[in-house]
Amino acid sequence: MAEENRQPILEVQDLGIDFGGLTAVNNLNMKIYPEQIDGLIGPNGAGKTTVFNMLTKVYQPTRGKIFLEGKDMEKLNPVEASHAGIARTFQNIRLFYNMSVIDNVKTGMHNHIRYSNFDAIFRTGRFRREEKEAQKEAEELLEIFHLSQYASLTAGNLPYGQQRRLEIARAMATRPKLLLLDEPAAGMNPQETEELMAMIREVRDHFKIAILLIEHDMQLVMRICEHITVLNYGMLLAEGTPQEIQNNPEVIKAYIGD
């Protein structure tokens, strides 16, 4: 898939991070192209979530550079990384549990709604117009993620599978260029996983964004991803198409042992 003449949306160069004396990730190089679904896999403790935390600037990398659409992300904090166009979900779901499902999505639109507190207090025309637009956009997102029927429910009361979907919907509400999914299928039954895969493809096709996902469900990864990066002990072990990865002896060794 990775044609040479295409511009990558995200480029990671020699990325590394140390926690005290422990090197969690080292010398990582990655390129993610637009409208591509990428997989980031590796055994437990390989540093996958750490990579996500560096890409979203929750952690500041010790070494290396991250470029989003050619722009260096070194000086950004997590809030600015979100503004720049990176959205994510979490391994352990982090929703706004006491807010309604639709408000969770609207909260994701925070930076696209521009009215001021003055507009809000005096309920100006601008407030009404922008809130109406946000409501419409949120309803559309809920529709895509099959959550319309739960719109007014408190997010904490949603079943587990729906909570995962809501988290993706909220991430999409920020209108990202790159979506990071941290184990989206964790805890899902086979049928839910099947639905999730269809949904991830739909999101890519509908919003034309790049997706990078961490997943332990190899079937899902091999079926949905067009390009895969394998991490082991914080280092790049292999990368390529699902077929290449499946037949790579290094990868098999890392997963199964000698």
């Binding site: 997590p78 979100s82 706004f96 006491n98 909260t107 925070h110 930076n111 809000a120 922008e130 409501q135």
Partner: protein
């Protein structure tokens, strides 16, 4: 759409309760039914409601414990006293105008100090924040307790030591150290209090159900997730803190303009805790509940006066009972079912008659 309806219903319930209470109490007060004891509580109740609504913005919506609301009230109250003194000295005495200017000034001063405070304070979280707000409340009381301030034709005179104001004979002393504010020309009345409650409610509801309101609640529920959708938690918490402080100031200004004299010690730690109790018993984030709880808990000690020395004992028992009832899942479910049953009967009367 459903959610939107809920929102409107929530605020509509609050507005109608406030308006209904105002009309009922005004009539009762005018006809003498209320008696002097309770009539004199009307304005203080409005003050406490406004302060409590503000505090609920910080504690309930933003989820940060604030133990210094009385400090912001005292700022508002003493700002009002100074402003009113200055206005009176320059011949502006129309009570409504003086009160309006005083409340605006009290709100601005408390809001501004709240903003100044939020810069260092909101770097802290949880218990530490509570401790700083507690200290702030104490500091304000102790500073004002030592202030002597008067006005004459040369302007304001200020001193930390008694009898050094060196005023012209036509001047008047506004704040007299531990004695507090003296010679205030009262300007507050129940209608003003009612309007202030209504305005506070509108401001708080309109912020709650807006872009920033959602962001404030998002930071309360999950700060990390909020930052990854591009919300600056410090800015949002500052907003909640400043609104809370400003409403505390407005409440204080109304309070200050209701008494001809009052001491700074009126706004001590106990008052902060009392307002926090109103908020917690009314329900975190629940403005209607806050209004009801405040009204009941301000009036209750007066009603229990016949118990003489057992008064505060019974007051405490009532507080505990309310807490148990409002936090008991089983009782809440029953209340909910009752309410639903009522609504069902209203719309489907035919069915129940047939049955």
């Amino acid at each position: 759409m459903k959610r939107k309806l809920n929102v409107n219903r929530n605020s509509a319930v609050s507005y109608s309760i406030v308006i209904a209470l105002y009309i009922a109490l005004s009539i009762m007060s005018a006809s003498g039914l209320l008696g002097r004891k309770y009539s004199s509580l009307l304005v203080p109740v409005c003050c406490y409601i406004v302060a409590a609504i503000g505090l609920n913005m910080n504690v309930g919506i933003s989820g940060e414990l604030n133990l210094g609301q009385a400090g912001f009230m005292s700022l508002g109250a003493f700002t009002a006293v100074i402003v009113a003194g200055a206005l009176n000295f320059h011949g502006i005495t129309a009570p409504a105008l003086v009160l309006l200017i005083c409340i605006i000034c009290g709100t601005l001063v408390a809001g501004f100090l709240g903003w100044l405070m939020s810069i260092p304070v909101l770097k802290l979280e949880g218990d530490y924040l509570a401790i700083v707000t507690l200290a702030f409340g104490q500091i304000i009381v102790n500073i004002i307790n030592n202030v002597y301030l008067g006005i004459d034709e040369n302007g304001l005179h200020f001193s930390f030591v008694n009898n050094t104001l060196q005023m012209q004979p036509d001047g008047s002393v506004l704040i007299s150290g531990p004695m507090g504010a003296t010679g205030v020309k009262t300007a507050s009345n129940f209608t003003a209090g009612f309007l202030l409650v209504l305005i506070s409610l509108i401001v708080v509801y309109h912020i709650m159900y807006s872009r920033n309101g959602r962001a404030i609640m998002a930071c309360r529920d999950n700060r990390i997730a909020a930052s990854t959708v591009g919300i600056n938690a410090v800015a949002e918490k500052t907003l909640a803190f400043v609104v809370s402080a400003a409403l505390g100031g407005a409440a204080g200004a109304l309070y200050g303009m209701n008494y001809s004299s009052f001491a700074a010690t009126k706004f001590d730690f106990n008052l902060s805790i009392l307002i926090l109790v109103y908020v917690v018993l009314g329900g975190l984030g629940n403005m209607t509940g806050t209004i009801i709880a405040t009204t009941l808990l301000v009036v209750l000690p007066e009603m229990l006066r016949f118990l003489s020395i057992y008064r505060m004992l019974i007051y405490a028992v009532v507080l505990i009972v309310i807490m148990i009832v409002t936090n008991n899942q089983a009782i809440r479910m029953k209340l909910k079912a009752l309410r639903k049953g009522k609504a069902g009967n209203g719309s489907g009367k035919g069915a129940s008659v047939n049955g």
